[in-house]
């Protein structure tokens, strides 16, 4: 195999390597775990074979979907906090909607505490807020959750560090290479500019793309605040053709 055709294998028609500036720089100063967990050896670049280009397409039976209302887990039981509606589209690098993608969201409560055994911080738990949900995108690639705005919280490390309010997203798209775990931030929060995780992304425009856009109140209405946040998965032609 000559060098050109060999190189072509590393950049398939569908998957190019990550563009510069978008991947977080690791390890991250002031985030001690990254210095003990991040592989020290250079990553090997491998060809995109069928295993990497494919992925599970029928996960909705394995991962049941449908919890999109985090703010009111049962009728009349409202979580405490600022009600907010978050919606957006899951797109591929061509801007095509990724339909049927599985979107998982989890977050802290209004006091900045997670409903998770590992979070032992001295902040109140809300009996009406578990703070996670999972759904499938519609034909337009769209997802939507009703939730409350999460609080900021301190990270237990030596040099004081508060995480700004953020939502965690896990997206399972049509291929292993389009698998994405990311976080979404809120516009205008003063903690954004000093967050060690957000700022591990070198490119300013890439960081800006992790910040949601507010929906004008006249559009969102008087029941909740609205935010829009699109997520772009790696890959072109990523949406499998219907057979």
């Amino acid at each position: 195999m000559d060098r050109n055709s060999r190189d072509a294998l590393y950049t398939s028609r569908r998957f190019a390597p990550w563009p510069p500036g978008i991947e977080p720089d690791v390890p991250v100063p002031g985030y001690p775990n990254t210095w003990t967990h991040t592989p020290s050896q250079p990553l090997l670049r491998r060809p995109v074979t069928r295993t990497e280009a494919t992925g599970p397409l029928a996960l909705e039976r394995k991962l049941p979907c449908g919890d999109s209302n985090l703010a009111e887990p049962a009728p009349g039981r409202m979580a405490i906090g600022q009600l907010m509606h978050i919606t957006g589209r899951i797109l591929d690098e061509d801007g095509r909607p990724v339909r049927g993608a599985i979107v998982e969201l989890w977050q802290a409560n209004a006091a900045g505490r997670y409903f998770h055994p590992i979070d032992e911080r001295d902040a109140p738990l809300d009996p009406n807020f578990v703070g996670n949900g999972r759904l499938r995108t519609d034909d337009d690639g769209r997802y939507a959750f009703l939730t409350i705005k999460p609080g900021a919280y301190p990270v237990p490390v030596k040099e004081t560090w508060w995480r700004p309010p953020h939502l965690h997203f896990s997206v399972l798209g049509p291929s292993s290479l389009s698998r994405l775990v990311t976080q979404m931030y809120f516009p205008g929060d003063p903690l954004n500019a000093i967050d060690r995780i957000l700022n591990s992304v070198p490119d300013a425009a890439a960081r800006e793309r992790l910040v949601a856009h507010p929906v004008p109140p006249a559009e969102a209405g008087d029941r909740w605040l609205g935010f829009v946040h699109d997520i772009v998965l790696r890959g072109r032609h990523a949406t499998p053709e219907t057979p």
């Binding site: 978008i22 690791v26 074979t49 995780i197 499998p240």
Partner: protein
């Protein structure tokens, strides 16, 4: 029709971030780490040799990684994927999911139930039987992805276009080790060292 000619403007992919320590336990259900079943209540596939994959995830100093999330993806026993990018999709096993998710216990241990994957011919070369694993957790800003191979296929492994990229002295680190049986099901052990001395750290691949 070629869509490339009329491709819309290219969007840039969203940055990845760490999954953090708080990925909800409530997202896991019994059987999520079982690749052989389409759902919790589905019958396991009847095709292929059932196997158990077990291992420990450690970080610098050999300390176990607790609460790491692992996802596995592999071909079915015949070397096929139920996916449009597999030209042999119509021969894919309809009862095999090929995907599973596990989380590590206090000892860093994980387990997957699956079947021995089949190899297949790829444009890059003949793929030996393998399982792709991706790891997510606190301290990992980007997913760490690796591939495990099986020692029973020395000829196939020697020809595999991915394993061949790994420096020869490190290839052994990507081979699972036979570790007896459990209820008649062969067990393979595959430990993952996220960070360690060169020569001990598991080789990882760019995503």
């Amino acid at each position: 029709m070629s869509k490339d000619a009329a491709s819309p403007a290219r969007l840039l992919p969203t940055s990845q971030h760490t999954i953090g320590p708080f990925f909800p336990h409530t997202f896991f259900r019994e059987g999520d780490n079982d690749l052989t079943r389409l759902s919790e209540d589905a019958r396991p596939t009847a095709r292929g040799q059932p196997i158990l994959l077990r291992g420990r995830v450690t970080r610098e100093g050999g300390v176990p990684c607790v609460n790491m999330i692992l996802e596995a993806w592999q071909a079915d026993a015949g070397g096929h994927f139920d996916h449009p990018l597999d030209p042999g999709r119509d021969r894919a096993d309809p009862d095999f999911l090929g995907w599973g998710r596990a989380w590590t216990d206090e000892d860093g241990g994980y387990e997957f139930r699956t079947v021995l994957p089949g190899g297949y011919a790829d444009a890059a070369g003949p793929r030996a039987p393998h399982v792709n694993l991706t790891l997510m957790g606190a301290g990992l800003m980007r997913r760490a992805s690796t591939t495990m191979f099986f020692p029973a296929f020395p000829t196939e492994n020697a020809a595999d276009p991915v394993l061949s990229l790994v420096p020869e002295a490190l290839r052994l680190l990507l081979l699972a080790t036979p570790a007896g049986e459990l209820g008649g099901v062969p067990v393979f052990r595959f430990d993952i060292r996220l960070r360690g001395a060169a020569g001990e750290e598991t080789p990882f691949f760019e995503e």
